[in-house]
């Protein structure tokens, strides 16, 4: 899900920032290697020694949060650099790491890319710097994304728990007054909407791996795993995954769901024109939609995703970022403090949530009335943040990735994307995709579980 504007849009909204600063005078630890706990004295010394830090991120206006940090630690001078969003950012990061120079101290990483940087030992384990203590400040599943095992690789910046944005007026026209509670209801509603209004109830982005993986996540599918060393788990064609895929195949083949490629002009216009009566999206979606479909303000509502079992409350995640400290940083203490400050300091985290509209993983922000009680006119005065804050507590905690998600997404586009766009059997395509992924992993020297 890299290249491409789609990624850009996703990354923008779901993006994260990180911090990267550091101070000089820190303990002479070589990157990544130090396991001794850093003492408060070390931290005080590091934070008062004049230091220059570089921070690579594509979050717009992150300078505002960085300014708060610099005000608090005047000795530290942070340079923010935007080297691109998504793929270009990772390419440059990899090149700099490979070259051994020019890498930033702190870099934004989307959750699914963390393992690919853990793989070549490019990230600093943050536990000796006290990152463990932050675990309780974040929703569990987000913390698990940055700390799947004993190490902490990054600080969560924003997340994208998934929900259902829909056009209340179009659904009402089709006689549906409540958002569908289960996927069965959703299928029934899709039929009614198509027959009575001509709209699709929503669009399944043909090449949008993030969305499908989010659906997998909700259904309890665990397609990927990585032990941090040489063993990966690839299981994209499990029975549960095929159940999800079969559901969509059915709707797509009945022409109740469109399969346009998303995040391009055609799709934007489809959202604004009522071609799609809804969008199954992440917590960054509501703000994004507001900018895209301005003319339909007041007609939209938000609801949780339909459920597989009636009465359950489960969701998946799509997008979001964290800020990691590079193992090559010469000022790891200050760098860690920057990554922490941006995403943990109350005023900074609140700013990210209310000014940059990044959906927060911090429990304190999620519970803050200033955030949660905001009423959105676009959604008819609904407290959309509160809804997604509730959804955020229902995301499965154990979802993991493989250290080559670039390849996973690009093969999804080709193998799955073609089948979805052509209204073929999505479940059957999972088998092909599985074979491709296993072959690549083996060729790359991984042990596949």
């Amino acid at each position: 899900m890299i290249k491409k504007t789609r990624r850009t849009a996703l990354a923008l909204v779901g993006g994260a920032v990180s911090i990267g600063l550091l101070l000089t005078g820190c303990t002479p630890s070589s990157g990544g290697g130090s396991t001794d706990t850093v003492s408060q004295d070390d931290i005080d010394k590091a934070m008062t020694t004049p230091t220059k830090l570089t921070f690579w991120t594509w979050v717009p206006d992150i300078e505002n949060e960085v300014k708060l940090f610099e005000d608090k630690y005047p000795a530290i001078d942070v340079t923010v650099e935007n080297v691109g969003q998504g793929l270009p950012h990772y390419q440059k990061l990899r090149s700099a790491i490979e070259a051994g120079e020019g890498a930033p101290d702190v870099a934004q990483l989307e959750y699914q890319y963390i393992p690919s940087f853990v793989l070549n030992e490019s990230l600093l384990d943050l536990t000796p710097y006290g990152a463990d203590d932050l675990a309780g400040d974040y929703v569990d599943w987000a913390w698990k994304q940055v700390a799947p095992d004993a190490e902490v690789w990054a600080i969560p910046q924003d997340v994208g728990p998934m929900g259902n944005l829909y056009r209340e007026d179009i659904l009402a026209e089709a006689g549906i007054t409540e958002p569908p509670a289960t996927w069965d209801d959703y299928a029934t509603a899709a039929k009614a909407v198509k027959e009575k209004t001509g709209s699709y109830i929503s669009n399944l982005g043909a090449t949008q791996a993030g969305q499908m993986i989010g659906f997998f996540w909700q259904a309890g599918v665990k397609p990927f795993g990585y032990d941090g060393k040489e063993t990966v788990k690839i299981d994209v064609n499990s029975d549960d995954a095929k159940k999800v895929a079969g559901y969509w195949t059915d709707l797509v083949q009945q022409d109740l769901i469109s399969t346009d490629v998303d995040f391009n002009d055609t799709w934007y216009q489809g959202l604004a024109s009522g071609k799609y009566a809804g969008w199954l999206t992440a917590a960054w979606g509501p703000i994004f939609l507001q900018g895209t479909a301005e003319s339909t303000s007041g007609l939209w509502r938000a609801a949780p995703l339909p459920q597989w079992t009636e009465g359950e409350e489960v969701s998946g995640n799509w997008g979001g970022s964290s800020d990691a400290v590079l193992a090559s940083s010469k000022n790891p203490i200050a760098a860690y403090e920057l990554a922490k400050f941006i995403n943990n300091d109350e005023s900074s985290a609140m700013k990210l949530a209310t000014e940059q509209f990044l959906f927060p993983p911090q429990v304190s922000v999620l519970e803050d009335p200033a955030f949660a009680d905001q009423e959105s006119e676009f959604y008819g005065g609904q407290q959309v943040n509160k809804l997604f804050a509730q959804i955020s507590t229902t995301v499965d905690t154990d979802f993991q990735w493989v250290p080559f998600m670039d390849y996973v997404y690009s093969t999804y586009e080709e193998t799955m994307g073609t089948v979805i766009a052509d209204k073929g059997d999505i479940a059957a395509a999972l088998d092909t995709w599985q074979d491709q992924l296993v072959k690549y992993a083996e060729d790359q020297g991984f042990t596949v579980e």
Binding site: L87, E414, T418
Partner: protein, 318 residues
């Protein structure tokens, strides 16, 4: 008149007897080499060194687990049996065979038309035809991507209004044709200018002689103009070989709007890019790039050889 004789034929059979170079001569030589130095410095550092380095890289294999290891010609063997690479090559081959004759045919037609009717307004027309070339390929592709759009693209809307249904410019079957159209639109003007410039350098006496012999405009175009500018046409063909086989900007941008059609291996160049930056197979990408270079060299050579043989045959007939 037939084509200009090949230069080789004119070269003296043996060099003149060697004489001691005079001081003046030596000084001239020194100055000549001095003037050449900047070129060679840039040429070597920017072209030869990276090329050698890429060649070196292509002999290794790099894995995410286990790092780099010498692999001999393994990457090349893999490439030659890689269906994605071969398909991509087939695609640009087809592109070359279909698109280049259309593009150059149009360019030649416009060049001859402009040369024959040097009427008022011909300057403006020349500029108009050339203008697309001044539009960067990226902008052009984005623009065409919009024009091709199935829902809101103007072409689709016109077609629907005329009751023709929605044309699927971006479907798997039509994508290559859509790209050919973009490239043709972009480069007709460029090729036309090369041919037109060559036409303008034909001496007017030839036309006068032809007129006295009673030749019409078509006869003149066929028997004088086209043979006279054959070297210029050859040049545009060679440029087109390189351009077609290195197709990159168009697939890379159209893959944004149709990622399921324009797959990562759509053209060999785009494939090499994606191998390096998405799959992280830098070494394999280097060998794909090298093979592509060899294919381009071979095709260019064959094209040139064909032209030379024809020239020789014609000369022996005349």
């Amino acid at each position: 008149m037939s084509a200009t004789p090949a230069l080789t034929a004119e070269r003296p059979a043996a060099p003149p007897p060697r004489r001691r170079t005079s001081t003046t001569k030596r000084r001239q030589y020194r100055a000549a080499y001095l003037f050449l130095v900047p070129f060679f410095v840039v040429f070597i550092t920017m072209l030869v060194v990276p090329l050698v380095y890429a060649g070196y890289l292509s002999l290794f294999e790099s894995k995410l687990i286990g790092g780099q290891a010498f692999n001999g010609l393994g990457n090349y063997i893999r490439a030659l049996t890689d269906p994605l690479f071969l398909e991509g090559l087939g695609r640009v081959g087809l592109f070359f065979i279909v698109q280049v004759p259309i593009m150059l045919g149009l360019a030649l037609f416009f060049a001859l038309a402009l040369d024959t009717f040097r009427a008022r307004g011909s300057k403006a027309i020349r500029l108009l035809i050339y203008m697309p070339y001044a539009v960067p390929a990226v902008v052009a592709t984005l623009m065409w991507g919009y024009l091709y759009g199935p829902d809101f693209g103007p072409l689709a809307q016109i077609a629907r209004a005329a009751g023709l249904g929605t044309p699927e410019f971006l479907s798997a079957e039509n994508m290559l044709g859509s790209m050919m159209n973009i490239v043709t639109w972009e480069f007709v003007g460029y090729n036309m200018i090369i041919m037109y410039a060559a036409l303008r350098s034909i001496p007017a006496e030839l036309y006068e002689a032809a007129e006295i012999d009673g030749a019409g405009q078509f006869r003149m175009a066929w028997s004088i103009k086209i043979p006279a500018i054959r070297p210029a046409i050859m040049l545009t063909v060679i440029f087109s070989v390189i351009g077609s086989f290195q197709l990159f900007a168009e697939p890379s941008l159209l893959s944004i709007i149709a990622p399921n059609v324009v797959i990562n291996s759509y053209t060999p160049n785009f494939y090499a890019y994606n191998l390096a930056f998405v799959n992280q197979e830098l070494n394999y990408a280097a060998s794909i790039a090298f093979l592509l270079g060899i294919v381009i060299a071979v095709v260019s050579y064959i094209v040139q050889l064909g032209a030379q043989r024809r020239e020789r045959r014609e000369r022996s007939l005349s």
